[in-house]
Point group: C2
DNA sequence: GCTAGTTGCTAATGGCCATTAGCTGATCTC
DNA sequence: GAGATCAGCTAATGGCCATTAGCAACTAGC
């Protein structure tokens, strides 16, 4: 390579070399049927010069000059790695990449936000380099989302998010339907007393969607609503199992796999087994789970498909020039699993 | 929202609002100690205007105006998905993202190349949008790499690649050392006749590196070199096992896990078991493997660390302004596994 | 009261491209 | 042979920013 940084040729350089004007080079480059015509000879001469000199359009200048960049930003509100784990985010990314590839876009991963993860810092956002962005994360900064929405920047949230004021676009997993189906299935298997349990506050939208499905199943079955327990932490599971036994619950809808695993352990210590004494369905949240070899009955979050759908939605809205919030929902797959069955001997 | 696309305020807008010049806005934005001084009052007035109007610097213009982009491109020579599998590709990406985040860079995934994966198509490469790129893939187009090198574009190959002409930068896994260690371990366990086998041509650099380590172990042990078999396809494994038996081989160094799996199956059909009758070590290539529950003795490709190292290398060379090819190698972890032991009853 | 130095700002330029209005010379029309 | 048409090109502009040279006003020195 040698000394210094070799200057990349510009359109002006190519123009000089081919004996034409810069404008002609640009016209040759962006072959459109926009009035201007270029003779075949000239075109060939320009193309030859471009090849010979390895001309490459400067994307910054290009985007500055008005055009799109065909870049989709991906922004996560949390560091991708240790907390939630690779397994959680990667399927989303995979779906995004697949769809982006099909639609001829590249993906810009905004990783540089660093620890505190702010879109707007020192009054500038790198997001603008992309034509639009896909937002991801369980605990988004709502104010930032609203600010972004008000800025007119096009984005799609991957996951169900509601904010105050004007609506935003998102692609959500249909937790409600899947939870309703799973709960209903418990009823069909003969369970009379079914409860819902989660760890954490339950204020997040996905959490509320799931609970909604739980309620719907009761309403559809003409039953009184079952108990909903919200635990502070995994420490409280022993108490939860006490409650379950005391209340004569035979079917448990567990929001997190972690919770289900803990319940299984605590139940085991009491001599209760799953699904013989207690049926458990898991609503797909893998946070903190140990992934033991149990095949939990439950739902699968269609992460890859969500990634694809969100990308599709975003690109469509970029093409549309008509910005309006759009929502889409993707069905969850039901996993039969082995942890739900007819109520057994415990009663 | 609403009709049309809201125009983002520019420095000129802010300048007008704050009653200063565009240059002043720029100076306030890029607070440096570059000669020019701005009074506190003016600065505050400008900052207030920026906040009020939600000013955001246009990254394209910014990068056009000379600076770096703080974007690292990631380019794979093969479609990421079906062939090599998620498991193969993702750890690299993970390492890249971690390191990029620490170094304050974003990652641009070039997915749009589409089916045939060419860097240079119609004389233009999108790579240029990034300050530099990380290249990835088992079967790169060597001509393209050379063209890229000659263009002066900074890149680092993830994996060991040698090309003709001037050298390129890369980060390689140290297959040679790991293979030598594994082979040596077979000797230490008492194996006298040890062979090497692979599926495919063996022309790729990683393949040659491994074979080199194999040879080194023999040289270090003062032994004659053992046989190296290169199979056309997995179909030929039955024949390979015949050869192994005929030659009295008790230790096999298998390049691909797929090969090891096939050998195990074929050996099983002959009543031979691993490691009782044949010790097998696997050199970490998971292509096409079924990932059965065997814990193969072998090496682990330090993919994540390679991603990190490559990113570090690239950023360093971007900062350096001194382009010179640099190579780095990352040690492989040895996996003890259960498929290698002292030679047993078969002899 | 004059000079030298300093502070605080601005005008101008360049970076590379896309787009448009318009110019030149050739061909065609009747 | 004058006017109309058209193919093929170019000059000019704008998009947004960073940087630099330099100007105006003010202060300090003596």
């Amino acid at each position: 390579m040698g000394r210094g940084i070799p200057k990349r040729p510009t359109q002006a350089d190519i123009a000089r070399l081919a004996g034409v004007s810069q404008a002609t080079v640009s016209l040759v480059l962006n072959e459109r049927d926009s009035g201007a015509r270029i003779s075949t000879e000239t075109r060939d001469r320009v193309l030859a010069a471009m090849r010979e000199w390895g001309y490459v359009a400067n994307p910054s200048a290009r985007s500055l000059a008005g055009g799109r960049n065909r870049i989709i930003g991906v922004y996560t509100f949390e560091p991708v790695f240790p907390t939630t784990g690779v397994d959680f985010y990667f399927p989303f990314l995979l779906g995004m990449e697949q769809e982006a590839a099909e639609l001829g876009h590249d993906l810009l991963l905004f990783t540089s936000a660093g620890g505190d993860r702010q879109i707007f810092r020192d009054g500038s956002t790198r997001l603008a380099l992309a034509d639009g962005a896909l937002l991801l994360g369980r605990n988004p900064n709502v104010e930032e989302i609203e600010q972004l929405r008000d800025s007119g920047y096009p984005f799609v949230y991957v996951g169900h998010r509601e904010v105050t004021g004007a609506p935003i676009s998102y692609v959500a997993a249909d937790y409600t339907t899947a939870t309703q189906q799973l709960t209903q299935r418990l009823f069909e298997q003969g369970h009379e007393r079914v409860a819902y349990a989660r760890i954490g506050e339950g204020e997040a939208q996905p959490s509320r969607d799931r609970e909604k499905g739980f309620r719907q199943a009761f309403r559809a079955g003409g039953k009184l609503i079952g108990p909903v327990w919200t635990l502070e932490s995994a420490q409280d599971v022993a108490g939860l199992v006490d409650e379950i036994v005391a209340a004569g619950i035979t079917g448990l809808v567990a929001e997190q796999q972690l919770l289900a695993e803990q319940v299984r352990a605590a139940a085991g210590r009491r001599g209760l087994s799953i699904p013989d004494d207690l049926s458990v369905v898991v609503l797909g949240d893998p946070t903190g789970a140990e992934h033991d070899d149990v095949e939990w009955t439950g739902l699968e979050v269609p992460r890859q498909e969500m990634g694809r759908a969100a990308t599709r939605l975003l690109v469509r809205s970029l093409d549309a020039e008509e910005r309006a919030a759009v929502r889409e929902s993707v069905a969850c797959t039901i996993i039969p699993g082995t942890t739900a069955g007819a109520p057994g001997r415990s009663r």
